[in-house]
């Protein structure tokens, strides 16, 4: 034990030196301290807004007037009886599943092509990402030109090539959803390309060699080697892209707005915007967003569950 001597009127004293006190934060608290910033961020940026939306959904609240009345679940009862809500769900599903399917098909096909060796591959790979890098407003303006009924290149190609005697009017109510799906596919398929291509590059080539030895052609190789290998990536891509497309707002809004032509593509996010910022019913809008949040959470949970069960099978 360390000791020291101190002077005293009676002479030096040999007293034990007190141990320096270690001002230590208990080990287990360090964890909380270090995690605190992240927890605060999550609380402030995710949980608070979500919680506030839940709170607002139980109120009748004007967007800027100080009118806020607690009405319990009344907003949800209105929504349940609201024909436009169910219509927006239906249109949202058509848009999300339609554009997702095409993005997956086109994205995987392009990724397979870009995984081949050819001159200028780097350039073509960069080019393939181009649509995803474009600002949405530029995409909308471009698509409006391409699909224009008077001078659009789509009409020119379809009619000029003899594929159609008369090209459809892409922006009429009968075709606007299809146009929107095509535009979204073009814009977002590179997301699929990036994910799938990255995975393709890590597949062991010996698997293909073995498949060839077993007599597998290109299609069977894709079915029995490639597809199982990219399955995990596709699982994540499908989940993310479905959520992105179901909540997509900017592209549809800029193309069609809410009324007129927008009537035919008024998905749930657009409908929520109209209720919140058009009709200024923030409580009602919050209830719609709560429903959207719940639906997507349920979808994600069910999707994970199904996939895991499939994995274990």
């Amino acid at each position: 034990m360390p000791s020291t001597s101190r002077s005293s009127p009676l002479g030096p004293l040999n007293l034990p030196r007190p141990e320096p006190r270690e001002r230590r934060v208990p080990e287990h608290l360090w964890g909380y301290v270090l995690v605190a910033p992240a927890v605060l961020l999550v609380l402030g940026l995710i949980l608070y807004p979500v919680g506030y939306s839940f709170w607002l959904s139980l109120h009748s609240k004007h967007a800027y007037m100080p009118i806020e009345t607690f009405i319990g679940l009344e907003n949800f009862v209105w929504i349940w009886q609201d024909e436009d809500f169910w219509r927006s769900i239906r249109l949202g599903m058509v848009y999300a599943f339609g554009s997702l399917s095409l993005q997956i098909v086109v994205g995987v096909a392009v990724a397979l092509l870009l995984n081949q060796t050819f001159v200028g591959r780097g350039f073509v790979r960069a080019l393939a990402l181009f649509p995803y890098m474009m600002p949405t407003i530029v995409v909308v303006i471009l698509m409006r030109w391409i699909f224009n009924d008077s001078y659009g290149v789509a009409k020119f190609l379809l009619e000029g090539s003899g594929l159609m005697a008369r090209a459809p009017v892409f922006f009429d109510p009968d075709h606007v959803m299809l146009t929107m799906i095509l535009a979204s596919t073009w814009t977002f398929f590179p997301f699929v390309v990036i994910g799938v291509l990255a995975r393709l590059q890590t597949i062991d080539l010996e698997l293909y060699a073995a498949a060839k030895v077993d007599g597998a052609g290109v299609l069977r190789q894709f079915w029995h080697v490639t597809l199982p290998q990219i399955r995990g990536v596709l699982f994540v891509i499908v989940l993310l892209r479905f959520m992105f497309m179901f909540t997509k707002f900017d592209l549809i809004w800029l193309f069609a707005g809410a009324g007129g032509l927008g009537y035919f593509v008024r998905t749930l996010p657009i409908y929520t915007f109209v209720k919140s910022f058009g009709e200024l019913q923030v409580g009602f809008g919050a209830a719609l967003s709560v429903i959207m949040f719940t639906m997507l959470s349920a979808f994600a949970a069910a999707y994970f569950r199904l996939f895991r069960r499939d994995e274990h099978a």
């Binding site: 800027y64 009924d149 707005g257 009324g259 007129g260 009537y263 008024r266 058009g278 009709e279 200024l280």
Partner: protein, 454 residues
């Protein structure tokens, strides 16, 4: 260099950069910024406003004015979003219903001092009527300029179709007959081109209901969408859509309709005097031959019962937001803006569309010498006549009392009326069914907003 010292240097450099940025931004932050939103995005008007701003800033050091030009159809949405987030501009244009609605909600600064600085009696009576709140004896807005919506048409098409190019249709029946003769689908030509976005459908529905002797609300503010004049309007619209509108009319923007008329894809459109620039640029031959013209009247529906047609009075008002950061500086800017010389320059930036709100300017020799008046006198005269004889009304207002209902902005920005028209013109619902649904939705909206009085 150790990692630690490199890190420390990077930190110091970052701190210095932030300090420099703050120092550089300090003078800008010291200025009072007045945000001005208006609905005149054309380059000429923006340049004129820039000039007025520069002169104002010279007279008022420490005040900076920032103009933001918005399309009409976007103004309400941007305004609603700004109000919801509390980010008020100092000064903004607004539809008449917005002015009343916002002043009723206590959000606007009174503008009596600005009106006094212009000279109250110099302002045209119709403008005073529009902007004066009789209950509070206060002006909460002032129309920046006025104009009237007219039918613009191609005389050459009328002649080709064997129609008298000077004869305005008196009734909807006559109009439909004309439009049918003007439509030649094999050539891709349609009798009429209408703008499809919701804002413009709102414009047409209230004008046509009003031209059919109808109204959108009763005395207590209850919607009247199931009344006969509205149903007949929907039937008329359905007939138009089937016979004489392009299949993609719902996707056509306001400027597209001008393009349609200029390029000969349509024979008639509804519009304003600002279109003259467009025609001069894209249809110079038609302009030179005098083939672009306007009717001085609009047709009425079967239930008009002797009432005149209703057309839109373009009259967005300047408003000042009480809770913005610098409302007094905003007021000072508007006083400066309305000085005769400045206001003349503004009016002359869109001369055929903007009618001055002051009587003195209307008779000012400099105003009367505006070059565009030589070529487009017929258009100006037609608007004069409509404004003086037929009492046009602002957007969504079929009767003057409607201005006092505080929910018009919310209804205009909902999709209720627009959906009603869309469902009928697409054949998804009969006029009666669509009107009934719109009535139910509107009543529900007004109830939910807490404005139900019936």
């Amino acid at each position: 260099m150790t990692k630690h010292s490199a890190f420390a240097r990077a930190l110091r450099a970052g701190a210095a950069a932030i300090a420099l940025a703050v120092f550089a931004a300090a003078p800008a932050m010291a200025q009072k910024v007045v945000n001005v939103w208006h609905t005149e995005p054309n380059a000429r008007t923006k340049a004129v406003i820039d000039g007025i701003i520069a002169d104002f800033e010279k007279e008022n050091p420490g005040v900076k004015v920032v103009q933001e030009a918005l399309a009409w159809g976007d103004l309400d949405k941007k305004m609603q979003a700004a109000l919801a987030s509390g980010a008020f501009p100092e000064v903004a244009h607004g539809q008449a219903y917005n002015e009343r609605s916002l002043s009723a909600k206590g959000l606007l600064r009174p503008m009596n001092d600005i009106i006094a600085s212009i000279g109250e009696q110099d302002i045209f009576p119709v403008v005073r009527k529009l902007n004066y709140n009789t209950t509070e004896k206060t002006y909460y807005g002032l129309a920046h300029a006025v104009g009237a919506d007219l039918i613009i048409y191609r005389k050459d098409h009328m002649r080709e179709a064997g129609l008298d190019p000077e004869k305005a249709p008196a009734t909807w029946r006559e109009w439909v007959d004309q439009l049918k003769k003007l439509t030649d689908k094999s050539k891709g030509r349609y009798g009429l081109s209408l703008a499809g976005p919701g804002f413009f459908i709102n414009e047409d529905i209230y004008m046509w209901v009003g031209s059919n002797g109808g109204r959108l609300f009763d005395e207590k503010g209850r919607p009247t969408f199931t009344e006969k004049p509205v149903i007949e309007t929907l039937e008329f619209w359905k007939e138009l859509a089937d016979c004489c509108l392009a299949p993609d009319w719902l996707s056509r923007g306001y400027l597209d309709t001008f393009g349609d008329l200029a390029t000969g894809k349509a024979s008639m459109i509804l519009g304003w005097g600002r279109g003259t620039d467009y025609f001069e640029q894209y249809a110079p031959d038609a302009v030179a031959k005098g083939d672009i013209n306007v009717f001085r009247t609009k047709p009425v529906g079967p239930s008009a019962g002797g009432k005149p047609f209703l057309t839109q009075f373009d009259s967005e008002a300047w408003m000042i937001f009480k809770n913005s950061k610098h409302p007094e500086e905003g007021a000072a800017f508007l006083k400066f803006f309305h000085r005769a010389d400045n206001y003349l320059k503004y009016i002359q930036s869109v001369p055929v569309h903007f009618f001055p709100v002051t009587q003195s300017l209307r008779t000012d020799t400099r105003y009367l010498a505006t070059p565009a008046f030589q070529k487009w006198k017929f258009w100006i005269d037609a608007q004069h006549e409509v404004i003086e004889k037929y009492e046009p009304k602002p957007l969504m207002i079929t009767e003057w009392k409607d201005l006092d209902f505080p929910f018009i902005a919310e209804l205009a920005n909902s999709t209720i009326l627009v959906d009603m028209v869309t469902e009928v013109t697409r054949g998804q619902r009969t006029p009666v069914e669509a009107a009934r649904r719109a009535q139910q939705r509107a009543e529900q909206l007004i109830t939910q907003l807490g404005y139900r009085k019936w």
